[in-house]
Symmetry: C2
Subunit: 224 residues, 2 copies
DNA sequence: AGGAGTTTGTGAACGGGAGAACAAAACGAG
DNA sequence: CTCGTTTTGTTCTCCCGTTCACAAACTCCT
């Protein structure tokens, strides 16, 4: 019987943290369709996970359900949002406004999920005349002042791979402590800085591996 | 002593499969910089993983190193590429040529890693006049014939979330067995079809969670 | 040829996550 | 108030993945 600190039941497993946003999305969907209460079974189906896993995940946050009834959609949604930290708005800077940077800047889904793009930066002076998604593309040299003025702690790297490490170094020096990296490179950053990478080529290669094996052995597998 | 089938040492752990593309990228980098031989330590550092893990991963493919020496960069690169299946070219279709679809279509990294975009499809007739990255944007109705004519088995979904499931259903019916999904929805597909999802909002939310906790407890953590 | 030095490949210990199963709690009917 | 039904929260077990540590294998030097 661990005396559970009721206010801050800390250290949520990483695997659970990665699923909380999925639950949040599912709950938002349920709320929009008018559902006010749902069981772990329903929510699990909507989120595409096992219901036991869902319940265990939620138990790390606290006891927000009612036995025999289920969960209040709106209440649980708020609790998860609070736990993740998306009840507040997070300012974000995007560096590298090329093909991908444009798409990211124009994406409305970030805003609706608690993130606000405060600046678009690019090293190429030709880009600086452009206005993307209502924001001026500014010089990369402005990074430090923008980070300081807007209390930015999250940065997105969408530059070519060769530039990524130097951009990351500069971000870290400017005070950014979380980086989402789209460039296909391993970034090295000091302790205390989180890096997550998104590599589309790797995803395709994983699919190709399984695809190749389907041709010989029909052992099918669904990776979600 | 499991009699290791030398030609097909099958069932590589999923976690290893996900890292093989990283090793491949690291090896390509080493090869380009003129390195012909490397130790597991060097390669692990380049790929950003533990060297013991790297060696164990490679051991699933076979014994391609030489004790006391290391690995032949070019030889190992080929072996990994063959194992993943990227020695051949994989035809790919992209559905939903909006912000993200444009970026994907223009991305040269796919081509250089064994993937060839054979068609860009969109439901919006206004898009059909467009030429992106040297390809006509074609009607979604052409899906079946394109898949059949080009033996496409991999599809990319970059449509809004509401359309994603119906696009996936249509892809599966047309014969596609691997899907990379960018829409923030859970797709349900029959057994035998692989789905991988890329959700940028989830990545940001995971960063936000850790960021939020940094403010209170300085227990830093690097997630790569 | 033999020994010293390197580096691989793998056995074994460890930790974390997934899922089954169940006891505890809430609710409603009678 | 009591019993039956529903559903949560949690315990327990199993499996996968990570990491350590070391014997086996190879090279080079003397
Ligand atoms: N486009 C895609 O769909 C896609 C897919 C997967 C991965 N990626 C990766 O994302 C990254 C960006 O891709 P892209 O297609 O947008 O490339 P891009 O060449 O279109 O854009 C890169 C932008 O970064 C800017 N830049 C270069 N060096 C910079 C620096 N030091 N500081 C600031 N800005 C700098 C360039 O001026 C350019 O505008 C690449 O690393 C690419 O490998 C892209
Ligand atoms: N843009 C981004 O950076 C970004 C980031 C994260 C996630 N996403 C997700 O990626 C998806 C695409 O984003 P986007 O910004 O490119 O959206 P978008 O609206 O710019 O483009 C969507 C395209 O899909 C087409 N489409 C709609 N229904 C279709 C159907 N049934 N069949 C074929 N085509 C159809 C539309 O005509 C449009 O061209 C969305 O689900 C979005 O949530 C985008």
């Amino acid at each position: 019987m661990t005396a559970r600190t009721p206010d801050s039941a800390r250290d949520i497993p990483e695997a659970t943290v990665a699923r909380l946003p999925v639950y949040l999305r599912a709950l938002t969907g349920l709320a929009e369709s008018g559902t006010t209460t749902c069981s772990s079974e329903e929510l699990a189906a909507t989120a595409g996970v096992n219901s036991a896993k869902l319940r265990k995940d939620l138990s790390y946050l606290g006891s927000y359900g009612t036995r025999g009834v289920g969960y209040d959609v709106e209440y649980l949604r708020y609790q998860i949002a609070r736990e993740i930290g998306v009840t507040q708005d997070w300012p974000v800077v995007i560096v590298g406004i090329g093909n991908l940077g444009h798409a990211l800047a124009n994406y409305s889904g970030f805003r609706s999920r608690g993130f606000r793009v405060v600046a678009l930066l690019d090293a190429d002076p030709d880009r600086h005349e452009e206005v993307v998604a209502g924001l001026d593309v500014r010089s990369f040299e402005d990074l430090e002042s923008i980070v300081a003025d807007n209390a930015v702690s999250i940065g997105v790297i969408a530059t070519p791979a060769v530039a990524a490490q130097s951009v990351a170094d500069r971000m870290v020096a400017a005070g950014i402590t979380s980086i989402l990296n789209f460039a296909p490179t391993v970034l090295s950053v000091p302790d205390g800085v989180d890096v997550r990478k998104v590599d589309l080529s790797i995803e395709l290669q994983i699919l190709a591996y399984h695809e190749q094996r389907k041709s010989v052995a029909p052992g099918a597998e669904v990776v979600s």
